[in-house]
Structure formats: structure tokens, C-alpha cells
């Protein structure tokens, strides 16, 4: 494990967290199991789409599961699909959609893998309606240090513990998902414009009724005005839209080749221009407000893939994504207060995304009956410390109101802070799970160490 030529710099999706580790990519599940049974500390990784340090750790073995991407089985009548841990959502939809199925839950980028999706129990813009991805996992096969391969299904007592266990006790080998039957590859999308925080939250709340997806973009430079999108699967659209070529994202954005757009973004990616971009976006949205239009599933779902390498526009410091989940009754108060704090500190999120959630029982779940607000902060050397101070002050308020944070996004919270959101029962579940499956603590990650989860007893 000391072959220096295997060391690579691993980066979180947001570019802020980095670590150098000994990378190895097993070519088969058997090789994965063989390596795991002989290694000391391991961090699991595949797509590397966690924003922070969940898929990296310094100076240990990083097992990259990206080569384990076989789709093993699909039943066209039940919609049950079994695939290996390194399969990306991109590979999954390309397989499923021409057969009349869509993924029940997707993340904003299609580069997420099944392994990462289950470890973090990811959700999408439909969490309020269908829950996170774990609710659609019928069966999963995991490798654990104490028991080797084990299989769990919805009736297994640890199914909802292993899903969401942050890659900290087991490595996913393969999983079976129940896909959603769709008649077309289109959604009918309605847009709505709002002027204040109160308005944005209440409009998202009332607008989501009867809809399959709901998401709001919020302008934090202008005190919470926003543009909300609601979408429904469209059973009446042309079935030919199920074909891949009808789904692919445009090759140009506003006339600029897609692969070069991040350069334009890089120029705009500072407070002044971003204030303008946010305003323009809001003003221009007037054209689509009040009308229902048709959009492809891929176009609506994978917004982050529109501009490949968008995260490079935040280089060299990267960005920090900060996503508080707040109970519905205090959301307006908390979010507007966090917004004021950003304006006062002169560090305003360049992008804010609002979603509605429902509670679930998965381990470390951030989901609650309320709203989440995903905020993107650019990290610049001169103001890095001030930004971190601001984020910790904001987190304190979120916790005061019973709020929570999401492991796939967090890059800054300390173990003391996280202790405020982990109740006794959650900590006990984690300790029991570790004792049972990974008693020596073989699986770790930057996130697990930072949250202090490797030290609880």
C-alpha cells in the first residue's frame, strides 16, 4: 500500500475539499471483496459527486468502484433493475428510458453512481412526494468486514441503516431499484415568480400539490425573490421522446459550445456580476411565467450537466455548498435570517435552490417535514476564513430551530456542531451498526472523521 505512483489527488464535486490517496479501481466484485478483506483503512469512491469530503480521505487506500458498472438484470414487466455499485445514473436512464422507465429519484448531476446514491441516500426535486432513493431500493448486496457479503431487503432490520450509512460500514456490491413506468420522456413544467421569502415558501408549498416535482431558484442578492418550477410526468406526449437522442442535452448554451461555457461562468463568477446574473434571470423569467411548457426528463433533471465542468468556474478555491433543512413553520424566518447574515457579511450565495421535503427513517437522514435551501458559496483565499465563520454562525441558527444538514453536501461542520443534529437514537443506531458489521472501523472518509463518527462510543 505504499506504491507512490498510485497516489492521486481526490477532489469533492465542489473542488473545495481535497486529499491525496492511494487509488485502486477493482475490476470485479470478487476483486473488491478480496481487497477489502485484506486492507486496513479504506475510503469508498466512485463518481466523486459528493460536494465535500465524503468520498475522500488522506493517505489511505481509496477504492474506486467506477469500473463495477454492469447492469445485471431488468424485468420489463415489474420495472425492477439490478446494477452494480459503480453504475452511474446516466448509464441507468439510458438503459431504462427506451424501455419505458425512468429513475424514481435522481440527483442534479447524472454522474452520481448507485453506490454513492445509496451511501448518502440521495434525493431529488421530488423528495416531498416519493422520498429519497432508499425508498425505491428493493434489495441490496453489501460487503461487510465482519460478515462478508450480506443481502438486505425492505424487511431486513438494517436495510434502512445501511442505506445512508455514508460508506462507513459496508461497500455496496449491487442493488435492485424499482423504476417508475413513464409513457413519454417529457414533463409538463409550470413556472411561477415570487417576490419575497414568505411568498417563495408558501407558493412552493401550495404549488407542489398534485405535482411530481417542485423546485425553486432563489435570488439571495434580492432578499428571497425566486422562480419556482413545478413539473408533472406527461402521459400524453409523443412516446418517441423515450428515445435517448430525444433526451440529450443541447450542445450549445446561448450559442457557446457547451464544453466552453465554464470559461464564461468563470468570468461572471464574482459578487458584482452574479448579482446582475441573478437579476437578469429573474427578469427574463417573465417570459415563461404562467405558461406550461414541455421539457425532457433529462433536461429538467440534470441541470448540473448542462455546463460540463461548471465546477471549474469556481477554481482555484472551489465552492462550498451549504444546505440547511429547516422545519416548515420556521423556514421563512430562518432562511430570511440566513440571507440577511450573508448580505451583512458581504458574502452572498451565488445560487440558492429551494426544495420541499418529507421525513424518513434512514440513518443520518436530513429529511424532515420542511424545506431545504442549497446555497453555493465561492471560496476565495482572502475571504475564506470570514466565509467559514459565517457558515458556522449560520449553522448555529439552523440547529437552534431543529434544522439538519445533508452529508452529501456538507464540507464544513465540526463534530460538535453535528452532535446538535444527531439524537441519541441515531448515534446508537450507528454504533450498533458499526459493532455488527465493521467493528474495527475499516471504512472511513474525511466526512466520517470530521463528523467524529469514527470516535463515538
Amino acid at each position: 500500500m505504499s506504491d507512490q505512483s498510485r497516489v492521486r489527488r481526490l477532489t469533492g464535486f465542489a473542488g473545495y475539499a481535497q486529499a491525496d490517496a492511494y487509488v485502486h479501481a477493482p475490476q470485479s466484485l470478487d476483486e473488491l471483496a478480496a481487497i477489502l478483506s485484506h486492507s486496513e483503512k479504506v475510503v469508498l469512491r466512485a463518481g466523486g459527486r459528493s460536494y465535500g469530503d465524503a468520498a475522500l480521505a488522506p493517505e489511505i487506500l481509496a477504492l474506486d468502484l467506477a469500473q463495477l458498472k454492469r447492469i445485471i438484470d431488468f424485468n420489463e414487466s415489474t420495472g425492477l433493475l439490478t446494477a452494480q455499485a459503480g453504475t452511474t445514473l446516466d448509464e441507468l436512464w439510458r438503459f431504462a428510458l427506451p424501455r419505458g422507465y425512468w429513475l424514481p429519484v435522481v440527483t442534479g448531476t447524472s454522474r452520481t453512481t448507485l453506490g454513492g446514491a445509496l451511501a448518502m441516500n440521495v434525493h431529488g426535486k421530488n423528495q416531498f412526494k416519493v422520498g429519497a432513493i432508499g425508498e425505491h431500493v428493493v434489495r441490496a448486496r453489501w460487503w461487510t468486514p465482519s460478515q462478508g457479503w450480506i443481502e438486505t431487503d425492505a424487511d431486513h432490520p438494517d436495510h434502512k441503516n445501511l442505506i445512508g450509512s455514508l460508506g462507513g460500514v459496508a461497500a455496496l456490491g449491487e442493488a435492485t431499484l424499482k423504476l417508475r413506468k413513464v409513457e413519454s420522456g417529457m414533463l409538463s413544467v409550470t413556472a411561477l415568480r415570487t417576490g419575497t421569502w414568505e411568498e417563495s415558501l408558501s407558493a412552493l408549498e401550495s404549488g407542489r400539490q398534485g405535482q411530481d416535482y417542485a423546485v425553486g431558484w432563489i435570488d439571495l442578492f434580492a432578499g428571497g425573490r425566486g422562480l419556482l418550477h413545478f413539473a408533472q410526468y406527461d402521459p400524453h406526449a409523443d412516446p418517441a421522446t423515450l428515445q435517448r437522442e430525444r433526451q440529450d442535452l443541447p450542445t450549445r448554451v446561448m450559442g457557446i459550445p457547451k464544453s466552453q461555457v465554464w470559461r464564461a461562468l468563470k468570468i461572471l463568477n464574482r459578487p458584482g456580476p452574479m448579482r446582475l446574473v441573478n437579476s437578469l434571470k429573474w427578469l427574463l423569467s417573465g417570459r415563461e411565467v404562467g405558461r406550461t411548457h414541455s421539457q425532457s426528463l433529462v433536461g429538467f433533471s440534470f441541470l448540473l450537466d448542462y455546463v460540463p465542468g461548471w465546477e471549474r468556474s469556481y477554481a482555484p478555491g472551489g465552492l462550498i455548498q451549504f444546505q440547511p433543512f429547516v422545519p416548515k413553520d420556521s423556514a421563512a424566518e430562518v432562511f430570511s435570517r440566513l440571507n440577511e447574515m450573508q448580505l451583512e457579511a458581504g458574502q452572498v450565495a451565488h445560487l440558492g435552490v429551494l426544495k420541499r421535503h418529507r421525513p424518513d427513517e434512514f440513518l443520518f437522514s436530513p429529511n424532515l417535514d420542511g424545506f431545504s435551501l442549497a446555497l453555493d458559496f465561492r471560496v476565495v483565499r482572502a475571504t475564506e476564513q470570514a466565509l467559514l465563520d459565517l457558515l458556522h454562525r449560520m449553522a448555529a441558527i439552523v440547529f437552534d430551530y431543529g434544522g439538519r444538514f445533508y452529508a452529501a453536501k456538507d464540507a464544513v461542520l465540526t463534530s460538535q456542531e453535528i452532535a446538535r443534529m444527531l439524537d441519541k437514537e441515531t448515534v446508537e443506531r450507528w454504533i450498533d451498526l458499526r459493532k455488527k458489521y465493521d467493528p474495527e472501523g475499516r471504512f472511513t472518509s474525511g466526512l466520517i472523521e470530521r463528523w467524529g463518527l469514527n470516535r463515538v462510543s
Binding site: Q4, R9, Q18, A19, D53, I418, G452, R455, V456, S457
Partner: protein, 253 residues
């Protein structure tokens, strides 16, 4: 009763904070190496200091909090791979390695020449090579070797010393040619006489060690061969260009 322990984990290194966050200095128990450790630590770099003399390392460790120290004899090359990995783990990564171990003695016997070759050149090879292999994959990092102006031209009096330093220059040049396209800086520093223990017996104009290291650390950020003063740069550029038939007739010792 389950409880989250309150010990705070050190922040994961972010690219923005600094370029040289963690460094290994081989040959840190005297002279230039010791001063490098002091100045880097003062800038906030987490250093691992290696040398033969334990008492000097202990003293350095008392002086600099959080300093990682290891006694190491560069002749024990087979121990280097494990030690290298261990130090990287302890530092949480690696951004800079400086090979500074060096011996300059009066070459009374051929064994003296051999010793200088071993310490100045052979001992450097595993450290430089491992760092090169690592940094190539990472796509970042700085490798610094402390050569000497004596490696530019081999004067009559010091065959072993000159050969060892010339060999080190060539080794580093090869690494530089391999790695400069990969985001890795390989830098050869060629000090003239610097006022340290090693040069105590020489009577000539010497540069104070603090000044030398200040310049050295600044120049090391750029790939290439660097002299510590413009005078040296000029003189040795000329000396290197002198054809051997003329050079050997010059009145140099």
C-alpha cells in the same frame, strides 16, 4: 451512554490555503536544512525533519511545535519507501520535498570520495524518485535538491564532491524533464559557500545561512537550476562555457 467526543478533527486541506502545506526535509540537523525547517515552519508549513543526529532533532522539535522528526541515515536506502509513506500519512499529504543531506570532507582517501557520492547522490535517489512517482500521479508538488556550484565544473581538489553534485544535478534535470508538464516543480539549488558547519574549515567569502535559505525558498518555487546570487549566476555561466583544454590550465585549485 453514547456521546460524540468533542475533539475537533483538523480541517481537510483546501487548495486555496497555501501551496506548501506539508514538507519533508531530508538532512535537517544542521546548516541549510535546519534553517529551511525553521523558515518553512514560521511560514506555516507542517514539516517533517530528518537527520542522523538525534540530539539536534530533539532540540529542533522543542523549538518548533508540531514538528515531525525522524532519525534517518541516508545510507539506509532500503528503509526509505516505508518511511516515506509513513511521513506522508503523518503529515496528511505532501507538497514539498527537499533533499539537503550533504557531506563535504577533505578527500584524503578514495573512501572519502565514495562516502560523498553515497550521501550526496545515492541517498537522494529513493527520496527524489518516490516523490517524483507520487507527484506525477497527483499532478502537483515541488521537488528540491540542494546541489552545489562545485557540481558545475569539477575542479582538481574535490573529485568526489563535484561528481556527487554533478550527478545530483543530472538526476534532478531528468526528473524535471519528466515532470514539468505534469504540474510538478523540480528545482535544483546550487549554493556557493554558505556559512555553516560544513564550510567552517574553508576560508572564503560566505553567505549567511538565513539569507541563503530565504533566497533558496523563493527560487525553489520555479522549475530550473538556481544560483543564490547574481554574481554566482554570472561567474558559473561563464565557467561552464569554458572548454576543458582551457579550463584545466586555469589557476584554480
Amino acid at each position: 451512554m453514547p456521546a460524540i467526543e468533542s475533539k475537533q478533527h483538523p480541517k481537510i486541506w483546501s487548495p486555496i490555503t497555501m501551496t506548501w502545506k506539508r514538507a519533508i526535509i531530508v538532512g535537517a540537523t544542521s546548516g541549510i536544512g535546519e534553517e529551511i525547517v525553521r523558515q518553512l515552519s514560521a511560514q506555516g508549513t507542517q514539516c517533517a525533519a530528518l537527520g542522523r543526529r538525534e540530539d539536534r532533532l530533539d532540540q529542533l522539535a522543542r523549538e518548533i511545535p508540531n514538528l515531525v522528526v525522524r532519525t534517518h541515515d541516508v545510507l539506509q536506502t532500503s528503509t526509505v519507501p516505508d518511511l516515506f509513506a509513513e511521513l506522508c500519512r503523518e503529515l496528511g499529504g505532501l507538497d514539498l520535498i527537499i533533499y539537503n543531506a550533504g557531506l563535504l570532507t577533505e578527500p584524503a582517501e578514495w573512501e572519502d570520495d565514495e562516502r560523498m557520492m553515497e550521501i550526496n547522490l545515492v541517498g537522494a535517489i529513493p527520496w527524489l524518485r518516490l516523490a517524483a512517482d507520487r507527484f506525477e500521479g497527483v499532478g502537483a508538488g515541488t521537488i528540491v535538491g540542494i546541489g552545489s556550484v562545485a557540481g558545475d565544473r569539477a575542479r582538481a581538489g574535490r573529485p568526489g564532491y563535484s561528481a556527487s553534485k554533478a550527478g545530483l544535478h543530472a538526476y534532478l534535470e531528468s526528473l524535471r524533464n519528466r515532470l514539468s508538464r505534469r504540474g510538478v516543480v523540480v528545482s535544483t539549488i546550487k549554493p556557493g559557500p554558505v556559512d555553516t558547519e560544513m564550510t567552517r574549515h574553508l576560508s572564503m567569502n560566505k553567505m549567511p545561512v538565513q539569507t541563503a535559505v530565504q533566497i533558496l525558498l523563493k527560487k525553489a518555487r520555479k522549475p530550473g537550476e538556481h544560483y543564490l546570487s547574481p554574481v554566482h549566476a554570472a561567474v558559473f555561466t561563464i565557467l561552464r562555457a569554458i572548454p576543458s583544454p582551457i579550463f584545466r590550465r586555469l589557476p584554480l585549485e
